[in-house]
Symmetry: C2
């Protein structure tokens, strides 16, 4: 059988609610039990029928579950692990969806009993929206879901989790914990920080430029604002917990930026042209790897039928 008898979702935001929809759509859970911190989120979950059962405490939610998924901000994982540990079923699989892995492993693993399998994970899928109403079943389709299995994990438990995630539509890959945090600092964490920074600069300039920055945001800046609209708590936790790798990549970024800045100041057109030609190649690689589309109006929000 692919799937679990009882899945407990701790945290009921974008990732958890998308998982709930996808589990339902593909019949991957006998019962879905959920818990979130605030009464408001729990009430919303009940109202929209997100789970079969919503519990007031995480401890209650995990009871009898053969899969527990921690879907809370990275900084909240440790306390939850401590709370649920005594209530976990023998043989249960515990995973998480946190965007950073080393810090989660350090915060969670020490609390868990030896009779469970903790298999850390991270879906490379998301939007800038959050909360229990923001999920949708296809969020994970054709997206990577990285697992960073730990020493001592039962291979059968890992395989079962892989099958489950594949059932949600994801492509599953395994990776070393440290490597995960470095690669993600490059492809996600540093780009997010840069987008936040650029939007912050524009915000300061709003007085100078009145609302022209918002009015004329199309092309370039608009994409940054989407990235910079992501959940503040989640991203604060990401930067605090993946500090070393983010600072490392940021240092390289600044060096590189100074080089391009100097080329502009010196009017070194050949250098700029070469540089911009090289960056094009990496884009082609992404399209070939199936991680994006080359459609000419991609991102413009105009339905394809409008095109000439």
């Amino acid at each position: 059988m692919t799937g679990y008898n009882r899945v407990a979702l701790i945290g009921l935001g974008l990732i958890a609610s998308s998982m709930a929809h996808a589990m339902r759509a593909h019949g991957l859970a006998g019962e879905i039990v959920g818990h979130a911190k605030s009464p408001e989120t729990r009430a919303t979950a009940v109202e929209i029928g997100l789970c079969d059962r919503v519990c007031e405490t995480a401890a209650e939610a995990v009871r009898g579950a053969d899969l527990v998924v921690l879907c809370v901000p990275v900084g909240a994982m440790g306390a939850i692990a401590a709370e649920i540990a005594p209530h976990l079923a023998v043989g249960a699989t515990i995973t998480d969806v946190g965007s950073v892995k080393q810090a989660v492993v350090e915060a969670v693993a020490p609390h868990l009993p030896p009779h469970v399998n903790f298999i850390p994970g991270h879906p490379l899928a998301g939007t800038e929206h959050s909360g229990p109403r923001s999920g949708f079943a296809s969020l994970f389709v054709n997206r990577w879901w990285l697992l960073t299995p730990l020493e001592g994990n039962d291979p059968a438990a890992v395989q079962r989790l892989r099958d489950f995630l594949t059932g949600l539509g994801a492509n599953v890959d395994e990776m070393d914990v440290q490597r995960h945090d470095l690669v993600l600092a490059v492809v996600s964490h540093t780009p997010h920080l840069i987008a936040y920074t650029m939007v912050g600069v524009a915000d300061h300039l709003r007085r100078v430029t009145q609302d022209e920055v918002i009015k004329y945001s199309a092309s370039g800046f608009r994409d940054f604002t989407r990235i910079a609209a992501s959940d503040p708590t989640m991203w604060r936790d990401v930067f605090l917990t993946n500090k070393e790798a983010t600072l490392d990549i940021l240092g390289r970024f600044t060096e590189e930026l100074f080089m391009l800045q100097r080329a502009i100041r010196m009017e070194d057109g050949a250098f700029l042209h070469d540089y911009f030609t090289r960056t094009r190649a990496i884009r082609r690689g992404i399209i070939e790897a199936g991680q994006d589309t080359a459609a000419p109006d991609f991102g413009r929000g105009v339905p394809p039928s409008d095109k000439a």
Copy 2:
């Protein structure tokens, strides 16, 4: 009548070919005449029937045209103005679509005879694709087209051009030349440079991370690579010709980045959370201004019908 009897497009890339499709779709030109530098592009234009007539020289193309649109990279505008000047019809309107305005005005205006109206312009619409096959009729729909009219422009000529651009689907606005270059440095030029830089960093790291950067590009980085896939010649010219404003905004960006970098190093979570909360507001402004959509899977390339 809205439109012109004969429109000459100089340069036949993304912007010109989109204009040609849109003019046809809305009956805005009696005849469309085109010219591009290379025989290859001219041959392609003939092959796909982009214009009614393709000429070997710009001088030939502008003859008898009541509207001439310069659709070449910013650095090429001056030489073309010099070439076409003696051949322009009395009373013709000349406009351009360059992403920078001060430098274009300085390069173009001195060459033109007093019996024409040079009304500089800039459509805030584009994709990362280029060339005569990349255009589509809806590119300008609901996008801004900024005009920076010059002293001495005939108001009737400006109004006629506005009506024509509105006919292409654009929202037309007028702006001062210097202000245009500053606002665009914020909303477009600096974000592009930053995206190029981040993709350049990732490219260096490819040896370290093998192809993981490409493989796991979803979320964050992927958007940067799309921006950084834009035409190298066009963007070289933008940075060389909008040098001062770009360097000014880059300086502010670097200051701001150092502040956030320090907050990460000092683990100042409250500062980061506040900062990320403020940047969310600017996003809301853009969605309210109708310049983007809040659809939850926006940018993921999954058709809406896939959603649960």
